[in-house]
Amino acid sequence: MQNSCAHCCTKIEDLGVDFGARPVLEGVNLHLNCKELLALIGPNGAGKTTLLRAILGEIPYSGKINFLVRSAQKQRPAIGYVPQKLIFDPDSPISVLDLVAASIRRCPVWMGVRRAVREEAKESLKKFSADGLMHRRIGELSGGELQRVFLAMAMNPVPDLLLLDEPLSAVDVNGLSLFYDIVTDLKKEYDISIIMATHDLAGIAPHADRMVLMNRSIIAEGTPAEVFRDKLMLETFQLSLWNISSLKND
């Protein structure tokens, strides 16, 4: 944990989610401070996305999710969300500017985007090296470009909690390192907590403060190095010792 301000945090207590009779998540306890990047790892179907959806308030859950935001107990903090890979029709007529403008202002984009809004959208996108994409249609963007646009949207206004749901599943190698650099900068620059669900174990390890291995409930938790040493981690991902030594981040 680095530079935690200790006054803002997300506390998840005994969280459970059922889809019908089938428990998808049970007994999840998590405590996340600000300026902390928590990597959520686990096999497909482990409930990573479900946990993020519960935090977003998208699905009903049992247990408690409490947010303490800048010394004020809030029921709902500002949450920034970057979804999993989204596929748009190539002929989808929504431009990047439309998307960003619609998310920062009420004035309807179908009537055109005013200059002031356009400037603000450009500034938002610029921080994520995406200002050059402003007039492109979202269906034409690559996976990495799209995720940078979503990240720019999620960070305007600056949220208390940033949820990244496997944001790298459609991103190429160059996009990966750019994305990690951006997320690390965000953590340093702002008082936000970040939860990132990912399959990219090697990529996330140097950047994450904590790592949580889950499969319906939390199996292992700690620094990436601690989690990689866990016996269950080896079983879950069938990693060899050689893999582990290359992943360690002491």
Partner: protein, 282 residues
């Protein structure tokens, strides 16, 4: 008030058809209906709700049938109430079941159409309801025109306030929810607005044609537009040009107006789709 519109129409269109009051009324109705359909159609297409709006259109049969059962002389209110309730129910049901929305809609489609036909065909009386199938915009009344004007103002207001939210939901509901948008209520309000517009237009456009008027202008515009503004304005333009051309041509050919308008829209779609393919080399 409407006499002023008549004078404007006669000045713009100094042709034989414009001397008839029923044609002038139909033209005014189209000038109001076409942009509404285009506006709502942009989202119907964007949210892949074409089948939903088709079910909504066909459910008018059951609405009319319910009106008949309740002994109403004009089944409009029963139809409107039924379509609003049905659209809300489908929206609710979509979230409750694991089945694909295609299947859910297919079930609603089958039940509403069958129920409507069974009730209306009792005693071989279906024939008198065929006007609802193909519609008759030439029979539009002044009262209906005033309704359309009022509703146009209402929908424009709705779109000014909620257009952005609806667009974000169409991109990704979770993304919209994270931005504080009440996705369920927004979607519910949208299907209610859609149900009201479709119900009001059924008598004019016809059950069989109403969905085409929603889908085709937006589908055509998608091929040409680079942003939401162009998409919306092109949809409205295509819808208006098709509406006015279809009305005039149907007058001279003696054909059903709704269907003639739809053929114009389809022409626009074909030209736009082929044009975009050639232009972008896709």
């Amino acid at each position: 008030m409407i006499e002023n519109y008549y004078r404007i129409i006669e000045a713009i269109f100094p042709f034989g058809w414009a001397h008839y009051v029923f044609m002038k009324n139909a033209l005014i109705a189209i000038i109001f209906i076409a942009p509404l359909f285009a506006l709502l159609g942009t989202l119907v297409v964007g949210k892949r709700m074409a089948f939903f709006s088709d079910v909504l259109g066909h459910s008018a049969l059951t609405g009319i049938a319910l009106g008949v059962i309740f002994g109403l002389r004009e089944p409009f209110w029963a139809m409107l109430a039924f379509m609003v309730v049905l659209s809300v129910l489908i929206n609710l049901f979509k979230g409750l079941t694991q089945a694909s929305s295609d299947t859910v809609l297919g079930v609603f489609f089958a039940v509403t159409v069958a129920l409507g036909v069974v009730i209306l065909s009792k005693g071989a009386g279906f024939n008198k309801f065929t006007v609802y199938l193909i519609g008759d915009i030439l029979a539009v009344s002044r009262e209906q025109i005033y309704w359309l004007m009022g509703i146009t103002v209402g929908v424009l207001w709705y779109w000014m306030f909620f257009g952005n939210n609806l667009m974000l939901i169409s991109v990704n509901p979770a993304l919209a929810r994270a931005r504080g948008i009440r996705v369920f209520w927004m979607e519910t309000s949208f299907v209610i607005v859609l149900a009201v517009i479709v119900a009001i237009s059924i008598r004019l456009i016809g059950i069989l044609m109403v969905n085409s008027l929603l889908i085709l202008p937006a589908a055509a515009a998608r091929n040409l537009a680079n942003n939401v503004r162009e998409y919306t304005l092109l949809s409205i333009l295509i819808s208006l040009i098709s509406g006015i051309s279809g009305l005039i041509l149907s007058f001279y050919l003696g054909t059903a107006t709704g269907a003639t308008i739809v053929l114009f829209c389809a022409g626009f779609y074909l030209v736009a789709a082929l044009g975009a393919k050639l232009w972008r080399g896709r």
